[in-house]
Amino acid sequence: MRPRLIGGEMLLWSDLDGIRGPAPVGGTALPRLLSAVTGRTLVVGPHEPSLVDAIPTGDVTVLVRGLADAEALSARYAQRPGRSVWCGSLEKLAATPAYDTVVALDGFGRVFSAETVDLSWQDTLNLLLAVLRPQGRLLLGMENLAGLHRLVVLPREPGDGEWTTADEYDDTRPAGASQLRHRLERAGLDVIGHYAAFPAPGTPTALFGGDILTDPRVGGFLAATVGSAGSPAGPVLADAGRLASRVARHGLAAELAPGWVVVARRPSDGPAEPTPEAVVAGGAEVHEVHRDAAGRWIRRAVDTGEAETLPLGPTLEDRLLSASLRHDLPTLRGLLMSWQAGPAAGVPADRIVAGDGERWHALAPAQEPAAALRRFAATVIEGGLSYLWPAPADEIELTSLIAAMAGRQFDAAQLAATVPQATRPDVQAVRELTMTRDRLLRELAEARAEREWYEQALTARETALKRAHRLNAVLSATVPGRAAIGALRMVRGSGRFLRATVRRRDPGRQP
């Protein structure tokens, strides 16, 4: 199969290889949305081939701009009837309503080629809507230009794909999650699914719908999910995972999400097929969340269909930090003890939803308890909260201390040798680096002050010792002095004799 060239194609370009720009949209959460796609489908822009594979319908056209990508996809689908690959720029597409579904999860940033002019966001949407049949569906992804991932990014040189970068100042581009919804509704679409995507617009592993984002009881699950979803690679201003948890805790996850994914359709008489409230992928497992008839949140494994109610309440880490910050030591010790005495001892605290009075729920498999404790210690240090404990901000020492509070005892040397470092070395965050520098400066100044004090104390004790020696010398030169020293020696000798006797009589006793 040869790709069909529609005009504006880029002969020396690939988006799928991710070399001269970001990798194509992918991530483990999106296939769940694509699995519901029906009818004749158009996929616009670079998509990870596995996403396209997840579309179950028999008639799929993929439009990419780079010839290399078009050829690679053609080869991939050579044996798969019903798949066709087109190459070129979006505006070259005939504006006939030929598709039941249009998929543009990569957004509008990579649908035009260097050969053509770039269109505004609204004009691009209009182009897509022009090819959509009256009852057709649109799956759209959009990067949040004020999303968390953008807020922590360091400045960089524009890449080869950024021949224009005017998105920021495109006033037709929706500003924020709610504007995106309104814009689509104004264009005559019903929005049936609207998700905040974490941790990155191009690789979401967690999609959360609006209802679940505004339910405070789900906060722990939300914080645990977005917090562990990861941080952009390379140097950043601050650890985005930590910020994401914070943002979720304060109800800003929808507005500050790195991206949004929308499922919309042209008005139709038929009932809207249900979309999941959330899709969360962790490791090989993908779960979707929906509400049951009683209004409870149900989490269901996509593969096995296994379902359970969604754990409610804060994460254990949040509860531990909250108790620490309030200096509520009895509560803190109680939580640490419950954690380490229970079946979740080896599960990191940020992966446990620990509702008050609820059963604690582990969201990750258990590892060594020492590793889970060490991870919590690292969280404390990275979060700038090590001042809450009287140990230098050293992971091993803090782990040992927290373990002691939890009723466990670890040998520090063994801990260092057997449990890997928990501080994430891959996160190179300016905020964390600055914090570490300031802390080390302070610790150095304190160590110097301490050394000075020891110097003074040592001098004072040396002076006292010299005085004692002089006194000793004077005394031993006199007759009564010699007699006193002789008597002292006798007393010491009898003391040794007595102790030896006691030891002989009671050998089990400690020396």
Binding site: H327, L329, P330, Y387, W389, P390, A391, S400, L401, A404, M405, G407, Q409, A412, R442, E443, A445, E446, A447, A449, E450, E452, W453, R509, Q510, P511
Partner: protein, 289 residues
Amino acid sequence: MHHANHYYGHSHVLARYCGLNDADPPRIAGYLQHGWNIGDGFAPDHEFVAGTPLFVWSERTRRRAWSLGRRQVYVVGAPWAYLLRMRPETGVSQREGTIWYPFHGWEGQHVVGDHGRLIEQIKQTEPGPVTVCLYWQEYRTKQVRRHYERAGFRVICHGYRGGWWKDLDPLFPYRQLAELRRHRRVASNRLCSAVFYGALAGCEPAVYGDPMILDGERSAFGGLEMIRRQWPELHGERIAVNIAREAAVDELGADRLLSPAELRMRFRWSDPRHRSGAVATELVAEGAR
């Protein structure tokens, strides 16, 4: 280690609680509060070395110290509370009379007040026999001691608190506990450590009489008036025992004591060299009972 950590046998009690040799307690990596106060927990002339942790008795003291610019302040609870945990009261004790602690100054300070008037008030108030416990300074001042003896009171002293690593008295708190448990009531003319100690040890507390003042007493933290405003319920000849006990638990941090393992970690007492067994005080303390 700061010499004040050894005052009143405090480091000895804690070493014993930690299962270490309490005849020669190891160095505490920090400053340990040694008396109840309404400042940052430490003496006004205490010198602080940056970065050295402050171990205070109660959460209230920690908050106050923080507000006064202190950092690295950690609540460990009072050594007294640890002593009581190690030596819980067994059986029904035969308690009688009142142990009375006239307010004392520290070394170098002198109390200005009328001991005669105070004695009259004690006689009028206390129903049973009275033991007056004087600070070592006053105990050694014959004039003051005689004053109380002539009034028919039993006059005692728990001992010297120790200073500059010399003349340490590990048995001080054991003696104090034995005395408190002999008495039904504990009283003083100021709300002070001894009143809280007594309340925690099961005595019915009272705070009344001329509070006396220290010669040149500074009241940077509000002094007597502040204490009266903050704890009005703990002043008077009769005080509700449950309220006093609750306050004592708070002020002595008795509800947040650390496990031996945790305390060892906090004081940096984890070095196995310190583990030579709690022997010395055991033998002497048995004799002191």
